[in-house]
């Protein structure tokens, strides 16, 4: 009897880990590659290296360790992985370069990514941002035209090309792009502001005023829109309205000292010419 009880206890204890204690879980085992073929083993090792380097590189970028990310993606590129890995590695490499202000290298990496995958929209978006930082308006415009052609409803494509067009004096394209963007997203205050700038450049001052007003209705503390509104009033000879707008920016420049200084100078210049 005693013996049977001891045996029962031992069996019960042995069964416990499976019945009551939650065991550590492991991912299901991947099939072990059964090959002794040297090229096949080499390909497997390379695939593994690409996987590891992507993990390390993306993690480094997530923690803003840009310099640490660069060699990981450079090595992946040197291994010439298939698509979409090749273009993705170049895209990630460009992010690291851009954050280190190495814009020329970022531009080259993104252009190489787009050679591998001409429909890579995120690469186009980042390339325009990089080219704007480099002051390469012509390069940015070429990519922006392609971006809008591939994704005509993309807010980023329209916004980016609108910005490039505004910066290079093409107010008509800027007006069209910001207008289209607002058609899909009329509550986007920044696009109203930029559309106002385009209308001002086209000497449509009343339309510019209504766009700046729209931006300010959506974002009442949008100091830059208020400053632009004041500047248009000044163009129209409405000095009282202009002064009021500049005074409002001086009172609330949204934490931008340069904007406050500019508003102050414009307000004072109106006072000096009274």
């Amino acid at each position: 009897m005693m013996r049977a009880a001891v045996v029962g206890l031992v069996v019960g204890l042995a069964a416990m880990p499976f019945g009551f204690v939650s065991a550590q879980t492991y991912p299901s085992a991947r099939p072990v590659p059964r090959t002794t073929d040297a090229p096949a083993l080499r390909a497997l090792a390379q695939r593994r290296e690409i996987h590891e380097r992507f993990t390390i590189g993306v993690d480094a970028e997530a923690h803003k360790r840009w310099s640490a990310a660069i060699p990981e993606f450079e090595r992946i590129i040197a291994l010439q992985p298939p698509e979409p890995l090749g273009s993705t590695a170049r895209y990630d490499l460009a992010i690291a370069y851009a954050n280190l202000h190495r814009y020329d290298q970022a531009d080259a990496a993104l252009r190489a990514a787009l050679v591998l995958d001409p429909g890579f929209l995120a690469a186009m978006a980042n390339l325009i941002a990089v080219d704007l930082q480099r002051g390469d308006l012509r390069g940015a415009r070429g990519v922006a035209d392609r971006f809008v052609q591939l994704a005509p409803d993309s807010a980023r494509a329209l916004y980016s090309r609108g910005l490039v067009a505004l910066s290079s004096g093409d107010a008509v394209t800027a007006r069209d792009d910001f207008g289209k963007l607002l058609h899909d997203d009329p509550s986007y205050a920044v696009a109203h502001y930029d559309l106002g700038l385009a209308e001002e450049k086209l000497a449509n001052f009343d339309t510019a005023v209504s766009e700046f007003d729209a931006a300010l209705r959506l974002a009442p503390s949008y100091a830059r829109a208020r400053l632009a509104l004041g500047a248009v009033f000044l163009h129209q000879g409405k000095r009282v309205e202009a002064r009021a707008a500049f005074a409002q920016v001086v009172a609330n420049s949204n934490g931008d000292p340069s904007l406050r200084t500019l508003a102050l100078a414009l307000r004072d210049s109106i006072d000096a010419h009274r």
């Binding site: 992010i95 993309s154 807010a155 931006a215 503390s221 830059r224 000044l234 934490g255």
Partner: protein, 85 residues
Amino acid sequence: MSTRLLRRLLLGGLLFAAVISTRFAVAGAASLEAMIADGFTPSATPALLAPIGETGRTGWACAPERAAAASQARAAELPAANDTP
């Protein structure tokens, strides 16, 4: 001093003052125009879209690609009015 010399000096002085004040007026107008132009600065360049992992572009779950194609400003990660004062 003769009256003629005095007249010439007075005329020269007036001419000089006119030139100086015109210069100041032109410079003032130019600086005002420059200040107004500064008031028409385009909004901020959008921030870079995020890095993409090894399997990021497999299927439809790639966040940067979706942001690049989105038709709404927020989904596209475009700058907000508060980002550009």
